[in-house]
């Protein structure tokens, strides 16, 4: 009997039930996709890492390295399993030329990544082909890192020629290379793979060798301890260092950012589905209050009645969750292109199947729990109350406030506008739901868009521990650091196009961490404080005994603004005050800033922030400096640097934003259909009476348009304001959990997108759906409506 009742009900309210089903499908599918991607990202990374074996700690070192010394050090530490040295030959981008089969050619001069050439290692840190198998190029063959394909048009079969003066050597591109560690635009280098013999020839004729000193530990948890030990041992360390955990995080970051958005949206959606269920159930109960009364009168218990009504919602939820899960299996492929490209096709393991099912089950349980709670209202309805209730007994109270907008008081308001506004005021509760859902959906659309815009914005450079300037010059060649520094200062001082420049010296000092151990920290010292950085507490350092530290360092050192920090600088122990904590995504998020004098011997790198005079072309200046300063000095156009560095994240985030926007658009359309269908059912008699007393179908449609759009518009506007203000807090919280060095983000808002484009799209959908749904009034027969 129950099944036939469900069947009848499903058929009777087809549009409403289909819409509800679609909502459940959407929420379940998104939840499933989100969890699936998380699992697949890490499974893919792990599968690839098993073959490629990236190091647990890697120190890059430019210049000569005393390998015997490193070997002695490694043998002296019991938890080091193995180590290796890879010689990476850094070649200036302007010396690398790609020739297409049609004869066109271009150089890689614009590359902001250091372009290195290596030969395949024996057993660790292997470069893989697209089938995740180690590549061993033959003579004349070259493997191109896939990360470069986003910026350069390089196909299999193209010719790559390395030229340096009279020297020239050509290779044919035979494979694309998957690199387990240098696979993100957030890394500073990328690696080409060539044959061992040709690597030797290249070494003799061009470029500079950079050592990748890689260590493998027995226990991964010792990586931080090992890093400090290595740095304190006075071993080659002219270059960045990175740990396994950071490599893994940086590799997965673009996809994780996308997952954050998807899961966040699915949670919002579940919440909204619950609201829709509430609205639908309450409307159904209102319609069927007499049946409920009759059932209670003949002695059917509350539990049995609830069970009877729950069958339908249970059936919808089960069907929705199953369909959602099935859709997610296919739809998640849309989001996997980056994972597949970078790490290889994800394996479908048990976790990939079971955990999303588990997530979908949670969606089901949440929705059922919510429905049951609403059904409790049946318990509160007395038999008599239910039996004497009629369709006309809606609890509408015209409050004093509503009366202020009385027909006799408003002299000029057009009747349809009056009717619409009056309806909103009289039935506030029902419209509040519409308002709230518009607020939430607008936020869902605008917040990720703002996040994307922030990542894309030039101001994002502040989150990268740098002040905004036109050009960044980095001098880090150990052997001739002072010479290069002097030369750079000379060039900049003598250049009339330069408005001003500041210098930052990166030194390594020691500090006591929260466990009382001495660890090394990178400190950027400058004569000018970094006021533009994103401080989450405190301020920039002003005095010499002050230090500003990054969020990640603050956690590591257990320090907060105002506290003192024990440090060793130039061999002397001292105490410095933490002036503030700022956000930084560079150097794994571990940096610090000081002002005033610094130990020149401890400097590893100089960084110049150059501002050009108005009208000077930064791109041309970069080329000019490249020429003048030589290949050892990195010269970067800052906007381009920021764009390329976070390019991977923004690309993945763009996909998520697009998917979210499309989903929100569908959702709003479906919600308006559901909402209006339910409203129209409830307002049958209102429509009929209006028609009977002389309102035309067009009048009634206008009234619906006014009330739906007015409330939606307010919801959209408040949602837009919410997203553009408080949305930052939500995103900051989530990004803080991810741990990339940002704990408080300030949105860089594109006003056209955030204040005009998004709200307008939603409003257009609301208007068109309302107009579409209200078209049905044409077919309504007054008599049938009056008799309803």
């Amino acid at each position: 009997m129950n099944l036939s009742m469900v069947k009848k009900d499903l058929l009777r309210n087809k549009a409403i039930n289909i819409t509800l089903l679609l909502f459940i499908v959407l929420s379940a599918a998104l939840m499933s996709i989100g969890t699936m991607i998380v699992i697949q990202v890490f499974e893919s990374i792990d599968t690839m890492y098993k073959i490629a074996r990236p190091p647990h700690f890697m120190q890059m070192h430019m210049g000569d390295a005393e390998l015997g010394q490193i070997n002695d050090f490694a043998e002296g530490i019991d938890y080091v399993e193995d180590w290796q040295d890879i010689e990476m030959l850094n070649v200036y981008g302007g010396n690398i030329w790609i020739k297409k089969p049609d004869g066109t050619s271009f150089s890689m001069i614009n590359s902001l990544l250091d372009l290195g050439f290596i030969k395949q290692s024996e057993k660790y840190d292997l470069l893989l082909n697209m089938d995740n198998k180690p590549i061993y190029p033959s003579k004349g063959e070259i493997g191109v890192p896939i990360i470069l394909l986003d910026s350069y048009d390089i196909d299999i079969g193209d010719t790559i020629t390395i030229k340096d003066g009279d020297f020239s050597m050509s290779f044919t591109v035979t494979s694309y290379v998957r690199d387990s560690q240098m696979n993100s635009t957030m890394c500073s280098s990328t690696r080409f793979l060539v044959n061992e013999r040709e690597h030797e020839i290249l070494k003799e004729n061009t470029g500079k060798i950079e050592h990748l000193i890689e260590f493998y530990l027995k226990d991964l948890s010792q990586e931080m301890k090992f890093q400090t030990a290595y740095e304190n041992a006075g071993l080659p360390a002219n270059g960045p260092a990175i740990t396994y955990t950071a490599i893994r995080l940086v590799s997965g970051l673009p996809d994780i950012m996308m997952v954050v958005v998807i899961i966040l949206v699915s949670f919002f959606l579940i919440f909204i589905v619950c609201l829709c269920l509430r609205f639908t159930i309450l409307t159904a109960m209102e319609e069927e209050i007499k049946s409920i009364g009759t059932m209670r009168a003949i002695g059917i218990s509350f539990r049995d009645i609830r069970k009877l009504y729950m069958i339908k919602y249970r059936a919808l939820a089960i069907a929705g969750c199953i369909i959602g899960y099935v859709i997610s299996i296919f739809a998640n492929r849309l989001f996997l292109s980056n994972i597949t490209k970078t790490f290889g096709s994800p394996q479908t393991g048990a976790a990939t199947v079971i955990i999303p099912i588990f997530a979908v089950c949670i969606v089901y349980m949440l929705e059922m729990h919510f429905s049951k709670r609403i059904m409790k209202k049946i318990k509160r309805i007395s038999v008599v109350e239910a039996l004497i209730s009629s369709e006309g007994n809606d609890k509408i109270k015209i409050s004093r406030a509503v009366r202020c907008l009385g027909l006799q008081r408003v002299k000029r308001l057009p009747v349809n506008l009056f009717m619409g506004v009056r309806d909103i005021m009289a039935k506030g509760k029902i419209y509040f739901m519409l308002f709230f859902i518009m607020l939430v959906t607008t936020s869902i659309m605008v917040v990720p868009m703002n996040l994307l815009n922030t990542f894309k914005s030039p101001q994002f450079i502040n989150y990268m521990g740098k002040s905004i300037s036109d050009i960044v010059i980095s001098v880090s060649t150990a052997e001739s650091l002072t010479d290069k520094y002097d030369k750079t200062v000379e060039i900049l001082s003598g250049d009339a196009d330069v408005a001003n420049y500041s210098i930052e010296a990166r030194t390594v000092y020691e500090a006591v961490n929260k466990d009382g151990e001495w660890i090394n920290i990178n400190v950027d010292c400058s004569d000018k404080a970094n006021e533009e950085l994103r401080y989450i507490s405190g301020n920039m350092p002003v005095n010499e005994n002050e230090i500003a530290i990054s969020v990640m360092n603050a956690n590591e050192l257990g320090a907060s603004a105002g506290k003192t920090l024990k440090m060793r600088m130039g061999g002397q122990q001292t105490e410095v005050i933490v002036s503030g904590i700022y956000q930084d995504v560079t150097s794994g998020g571990y940096t610090a800033k000081m002002t005033g004098d610094y130990d020149k011997k401890a400097v590893k790198e100089y960084s110049f922030s150059v501002n050009l005079k108005d009208g000077v072309n930064a791109g041309q200046k970069v080329d000019q400096y490249h020429e003048a300063m030589g290949v050892d000095v990195e010269v970067m156009d800052m906007e381009e640097f920021a764009r390329q560095t976070v390019g991977g994240v923004t690309r993945q985030l763009s996909k998520a934003v697009l998917a979210v926007a499309a989903m929100v658009a569908c959702f709003v359309a479906l919600f308006i259909i559901l909402y209006l269908k339910l409203q129209i059912v409830k307002e049958y008699s209102h429509i009929a009476i209006s028609k009977a007393i002389g309102f035309t179908v067009l009048d009634i449609r206008k009234q619906y348009l006014i009330k739906t759009c007015l409330v939606s518009l307010i919801g959209i506007l408040v949602g837009t304001l919410f997203a553009n203000t408080l949305g930052e807090g939500i995103v900051s919280g989530i990004i803080g959990i991810v741990g990339i060095g940002i704990s408080k983000i300030s949105f860089v808002i594109n006003p056209v997108e955030a204040y005009l484009f998004c709200p307008l799209i939603i409003l257009i959908i609301v208007v068109s759906m309302t107009w579409y749904c209200s078209a049905v009034f044409k077919n309504y027969n007054i008599i049938r409506l009056i008799n309803e």
């Binding site: 109270k397 015209i398 009385g406 006799q408 035309t696 007054i782 009056i786």
Partner: protein, 255 residues
Amino acid sequence: MKIVLEAKALYKSFGKEKEDEAAVLRGINLQIGQGEFVVIMGQSGSGKSTLLYNISGMDRLTRGQVLFDGEDISSLSDDKISKIRLNKMGFIFQHSHLLKTLSIKENIMLPGIKAGKKTRAEVIRDAEELMQRIGIEAIGGHDITKVSGGQLQRAGICRALINSPGIIFGDEPTGALNSGAALEVMKILNDINQNGTTLLVVTHDSKVAARAERVIYLADGKIETEYMLGKYNSEKEDLRERENEMNKWLKQRGF
């Protein structure tokens, strides 16, 4: 007497059934003169309400013609009929069918303001006059859930009168009222008619019929017969006699 409403060979069937045998109304021909008070009676299912709704343009005919003030309203668009309903017709239903979001007075004013023939001040004045005339001036500001069924029905009558229509259609206007309230409504209907408004009322109640000028008896979708009672004059005539006369006639019809 000028004919204000005329039905010619009116057929109505529901659903897919188009055959005449299945029709609810089967070839009704009817004329209503200006100022007349006509009652339609008949057994349940005889097609009384269907006739009322079709003749007033609230429902669409299957076949035939309805002329209102000489204009064929059966061929007009929904919007045009709506305008005629707004400006020239008034409706009183069994239940008052007032809008819940408006107060009593606003419900009465609404068609007046919608029609736009008078200023808002004039509509307010007319509504207040009507409410006073019908005895509900004290409840104008009330919610419709706060007053009795009789008061609601009187408010419904005021709403039907606000645009001074030429004709008022009533579908069981006393059907949901107790005897006291029903009597009040009947008196009001007589007053309205005496002021020159044409009335076409469907009822089961012989007391209502006794106040009419002409009673049409419907059976199986056809007009079986008519009974001319003549204009009721409350000062000269005894209503009880008219009622008895009516009851006798209805009894002959098996009512």
